[in-house]
Amino acid sequence: MIRVVLPQHLRTLAHVSGEVLIEVEGEVTQRSILDALENSYPMLRGTIRDHVTHERRPFLRFFACAEDWSHEAPDTPLPKEIISGAEPFLIVGAIAGG
């Protein structure tokens, strides 16, 4: 199972409290994780990536194994630690404050 950590507001929308565990068929990439996530939690569609273009929303970033994957191609395979579930795939909101 793939572990996904959502920002607090998306956990509220999805009615989950902690990490989300999802089954991903085929190669584990950002796209396949998000496809599986939106299939299990359809209320999240449009909140992480655009409904039509599937582009990442500008104030969100994706992290895996302490690396920023936000600007990687969506079909690039993710590290084995994500695939094994040793590390979670992080969806993080940009920090706004000052």
Partner: protein
């Protein structure tokens, strides 16, 4: 005994304020959707327990919420948390999918509009400013969005489809955003004619359809705006809000960027009725529930100083349909008050003694149970109020 329910959208969540017909003691529920911007919450006239809310965020985009029990519980239409997967898989989850209809069959090309610097800029969806439920069908609701376009749902908000004739109007390339964005913020349904609808866009102006939304015409003749190259232009006027009394659907009242205006021919011609107002800049305007010639505005100092004149929060009332205005001050702060009252943040109830309500950017929601003569705050310390709507319940 009758009850009232005040639906308040704020920068950080929605609140529901409830009282009996006396409107003296209030229960406060919320924040609903804490931390999110709630641009608008409105109930269906056909089913008062059906509420729609526009929830948005710079991070996560647009969400539509619906309640079927008067605001006790909420869900995203079509994707309720306890809804089992339908045969064939999960529901599509399209209640927040607002895609301009640029198809060859039903749509209009996705062109450009004027940007702040006069260049052309592509149409881009940003958020839903206003939700207007049908007068007769709880599952039909209209959405006014930024960048300006009109959408309709016929399935209780589960899916949305643009009425592209408005955005495709010939004048579209000349529409431009106001300071708050190019928002379609006002939707008025004519109770006497289901084919007729009025909308207003900042900063394009007012428009009317007489064929159920297929075609639209600008209705801005008589508006004068010194801040645009041609003050009498067909479009480009920064209309802040429009109000109508259901018994007089041909009479419209408008608070423009500057000027309070009136039309008695469904918007074909407008005339200024600012009269003796101390300043005719402002955002809100509304009409008394039982007196179609009694109207309310909250004058704001200027376009660069969005607060009341002299630090005195005053509602102005005209009982003559404009021109002659009286200040209403009892119960409102008359010193050191520098809040704003935004365009969708005033509403009236329809009890025998008409109640008037408005919310401020300082987080106060004021109520008057006697048509504006006396005011008292229902709440004082909410986040900045974006919208106020009222339901009068049996």
């Amino acid at each position: 005994m009758s009850k009232v329910r005040v639906l308040v959208g704020t920068r950080k969540g929605a609140f529901i304020l409830s009282s009996d017909g006396k409107r003296e003691k209030w229960e406060v529920s919320g924040p609903h959707f804490a931390g999110w911007e709630i641009y608008h919450v409105k109930g269906s006239p056909a089913d008062p327990n059906r509420l729609y809310a526009s929830q948005s965020s710079g991070w996560f985009g647009q969400i539509i919420q619906r309640s079927d029990d008067g605001g006790k519980t909420w869900h995203q239409p079509g994707v309720a948390a306890d809804q089992p997967p339908a045969e064939g898989g999960r529901p599509a989850g399209e209640s927040n999918k607002f895609v301009y209809d640029a198809s060859g069959e039903t749509g209009k090309p996705l062109t450009t509009h004027q940007w702040y610097d006069g260049t052309q800029h592509p149409w881009e969806f940003k958020r839903v400013w206003h939700l207007e439920p049908s007068l007769t069908e709880p599952d039909i609701v209209f959405a006014g969005i930024e960048d300006a376009a009109l959408f309709r749902s016929t399935d209780g908000g589960q899916s949305w489809h643009e009425l592209p004739g408005l955005r495709g109007n010939d004048t579209g390339p000349r529409w431009q955003p106001g300071a708050g964005g190019m928002c379609l913020h006002t939707i008025i349904l004519d109770p006497s004619n289901p084919k007729r609808m009025f909308i207003a866009i900042s900063a394009a102006g007012a428009f009317r359809t007489d064929d159920g939304g297929k075609t639209w015409k600008p209705i801005n003749r008589g508006l004068k705006s010194q801040y645009i190259p041609d003050p009498n232009a067909e479009v480009g006027h920064c209309v802040h809000h429009v109000a109508m009394h259901g018994a007089r659907p041909n009479t419209l009242f408008m608070q423009k960027h500057w000027d309070v205006m009136r039309s008695d021919d469904a918007g074909d011609n407008w005339r200024e009725v600012s009269g003796n107002l101390p300043t005719d800049f402002g955002f809100v305007i509304d009409v008394h529930a039982h007196e179609p010639e009694t109207i309310y505005v909250v004058p704001i100092k200027s376009d660069s100083e969005h607060f009341p004149l002299e630090g005195k929060l005053r509602v102005y009332r005209s009982r003559t349909g404009g021109n002659e205005w009286e200040p209403l001050t009892k119960g409102l702060p008359q010193s050191d008050c520098y809040v704003n009252v935004l365009r969708d943040a005033m509403a009236v109830d329809s009890l025998d003694s008409c109640g008037v309500y408005f919310g401020t950017t300082g987080g106060q929601v004021y109520a008057s149970a006697d048509a504006g003569n006396n005011w008292a705050p229902i709440v004082r310390d909410l986040p900045a109020v974006l919208s106020v709507e009222v339901q009068t319940l049996p």
